[in-house]
């Protein structure tokens, strides 16, 4: 009788099979290698954290999406839904305060997504945090680094929609409303329900032309040139935010990455900790951003650490998806390097000696020497996509005068 075992895995999880698993690891390594060129150092944090760490001000919109557990002491634990919060914890508790810190990471995060959305609940992120640096210089470094690492991964067709929390905040402040109403407006903008926003503002008694103006600012899509135009009679907060954006874009022009930027004031991330510029990265064929980030100057205060910071995270799984839909294959040279060799034969000594020599040279070698026939070896090589080298015992080869290596 065979034992009944479960063969399936929890919803939203996935196995990475030979081929795809190495493609994913390669992409992560490639991204990290490129980011390290900018002097970023890798950091790792545990998958499990105390729930409180992931809920610093108690109202992250994604709170319902966090996987929670109770440990044996009755503490609430959670699987990290993102990496910025754990890194903020490390910065405030374990690293010396010699700012700025340039940190990067690549790892799995977990979010309890609704099944119907077709999203995975476990996914990999590669990201960076630039901690202890203020101003457009740091923000433009983050944006340029995001563009550059995506390009290094082979992706070129993408757009970054850039906004600024200061602009939205300024607009909302001009309404002089209560917190609950502002929250409702924020949710509507986050969901991009502009019809709902229109109705909500109208029903709250705001004049029609003002509503039109407000929704207009949020829905208009601006090029970076539009920002240069004169914007008159702006409240102070908005003017400061605009100046900040202009400076970020001016610096991006120096990097020559300005063409990837599209200014969109309705850009918002679900995390509420952002305080300055925010951005999301889009690519054709994938209905979701493949990455995003922004400035979060107040987050570290939760750990008593008054320190500005900015950063981004890229969704590795989504980048893989867009790379495959863009049909970006490997270069021939890389393929050659990855070619696998099958050394087979009936004499263990010959096969092992040869394999050891080849591996030292950096070649990929599979060995088979347990009663395998030449025909079987040919079949196996075909299945594994390897090049067969049939090995005959050295002495026998000499005697027979022929050494076969096809």
């Amino acid at each position: 009788m065979t034992k009944k075992t479960k063969l399936n895995i929890p919803q939203g999880m996935r196995d990475w099979l030979p081929g795809e698993a190495s493609r994913k690891r390669e992409l992560i390594n490639q991204l990290l290698a490129h980011i390290s060129l900018w002097g970023y150092e890798e950091i790792n944090t545990p998958m499990l954290e105390y729930y409180q760490v992931l809920q610093p001000d108690g109202n992250w919109e994604g709170a319902a999406q966090i996987y929670k557990f109770i440990d044996r002491n009755g503490e609430i634990l959670a699987l990290r839904p993102e990496m910025t919060l754990p890194i903020a914890r490390v910065i405030s508790s374990k690293l010396p305060q010699n700012y700025p810190w340039r940190l990067m990471y690549g790892g799995e995060v977990f979010r309890y997504e609704e099944i119907q959305t077709g999203k995975q609940r476990e996914f990999s992120q590669v990201g960076v945090e630039l901690i202890g640096a203020v101003g457009a210089e740091a923000d433009s470094e983050i944006l340029a680094l995001a563009v550059e690492s995506l390009r290094a991964s082979g992706l070129d067709n993408f757009t970054i929609s850039l906004g600024h929390t200061g602009i939205l905040k300024g607009l909302l402040e001009s309404l002089a409303w209560e917190e609950t109403q502002l929250k409702q407006v924020r949710t509507l903008i986050l969901e991009k329900d502009f019809v709902g926003l229109n109705k909500y503002l109208m029903s709250a008694g705001i004049k029609a032309d003002k509503v039109k103006q407000l929704v207009g600012i949020l829905t208009c899509q601006l090029t970076t040139e539009d920002l240069e135009k004169e914007w008159r009679n702006l409240p102070r907060g908005i003017a400061i935010a605009l100046a900040d954006l202009r400076e970020i874009i001016r610096l991006l022009k120096v990097y020559d990455y300005e063409s990837y930027i599209q200014v969109d004031f309705s850009t918002l991330r679900s995390q509420e900790y952002y305080t300055g510029m925010v951005f999301e990265i889009y690519t054709p064929g994938i209905g979701y951003p493949i990455g995003g980030g922004g400035r979060y100057d107040q987050l570290l205060q939760n750990w008593g650490n008054n320190c500005p910071a900015t950063g981004f995270a890229l969704g590795v799984d989504r980048i893989l998806l867009s790379l495959s839909s863009e049909g970006k294959g490997k270069k021939e040279k890389e393929k050659e390097k990855e070619k696998c060799h099958l050394l087979a034969g009936n004499d263990a000594t010959t096969v092992i000696t040869k394999a050891t020599q080849w591996r030292k040279k950096g070649k990929k070698v599979i060995t088979e020497f347990s009663g395998i026939t030449r025909a079987e070896a040919e079949k196996l090589a075909l299945k594994k996509g390897a090049v067969l080298h049939w090995c005959v015992k050295e002495s026998a080869a000499k005697e027979g005068g022929k050494k076969d290596e096809t």
Binding site: T117, D193, F194, Y288, P289
Partner: protein, 225 residues
């Protein structure tokens, strides 16, 4: 050549007015039909591709980027709970979500008492669940795919949540609406990535639609169609 835009249109009663709007905005969609077996059409210059799908599935097509834009009732958007951009209220296809119960279940004063363990039959379980949670009621939701008005008559449920436009169907089945929980009209929805990547094409269309709506004065759009 790949079409510049893919637009999803709903089968059924919103199809004709949706097609009408697009035609007035200068899109060549004359040959479109929701009766044909073909579900994909292309305009003459191959610039726009149309897909025809069920209203309940339409938000999914747009959310995942299989279509850049779509026209669908707010009722379908609410129920699907998808992550997409809702840009324009097209003002046609007006209807309301109603809670309706059999006439004979009302008290002589015309009130309805929720019995413990009641059942609500509906095509919109998400909407119904939100309603009973808001009211602090405890009940069961039974998902059906059509002809909801049948359920209370045969004892499958005590109440229904459905969309009502004229109220005729309810009346014919001896049901009375006891509460309305929101209105719906057709909306123009846009995929999050397309909104950014095809900004120019989408903005042109959105402006054309808005101009057209303003011209029509919006309010009596249904009668115009």
């Amino acid at each position: 050549m790949k079409p510049k835009l893919t637009i999803a249109l709903p089968k059924g009663k919103l199809f004709a007015p949706a097609k009408n709007v697009l035609e007035h905005c200068g899109l060549g969609c004359a040959q479109l039909s929701d009766q044909a077996r073909t579900l994909i059409f292309e305009d003459e210059c191959k610039e726009v591709r149309y897909i025809i799908c069920r209203p309940t599935d339409l938000p999914t097509y747009v959310e995942h980027g299989a279509a850049d834009l779509g026209i669908v009732g707010k009722d379908s958007i609410v129920e699907a709970g998808k992550n997409l951009y809702e840009l324009v209220d097209l003002k046609f296809g007006y209807c309301r979500f109603a809670i309706a119960v059999p006439q004979d279940r009302l008290t002589p004063e015309g009130e309805f008492m929720w019995q413990p363990g009641f059942r609500i039959a509906t095509k919109f379980p998400a909407v119904a669940r939100e309603y009973i949670q808001k009211k602090g009621l405890q009940g069961e939701i039974i998902k059906l795919h059509g002809n909801i008005e049948l359920a209370p008559r045969v004892g499958l449920a005590e109440a229904i949540v459905d969309i009502v436009s004229t109220g005729k169907t309810l009346k014919e089945n001896a049901l009375v609406p006891i509460e309305y929980i929101g209105e719906a009209t057709a909306r123009l929805i846009v995929n999050r990535a397309s909104y950014r990547l095809k900004a120019k094409e989408i903005n042109t269309l959105v402006t054309a639609i808005k101009d057209f709506l303003e011209e029509k004065g919006g309010e009596n759009f249904d009668s115009f169609v």
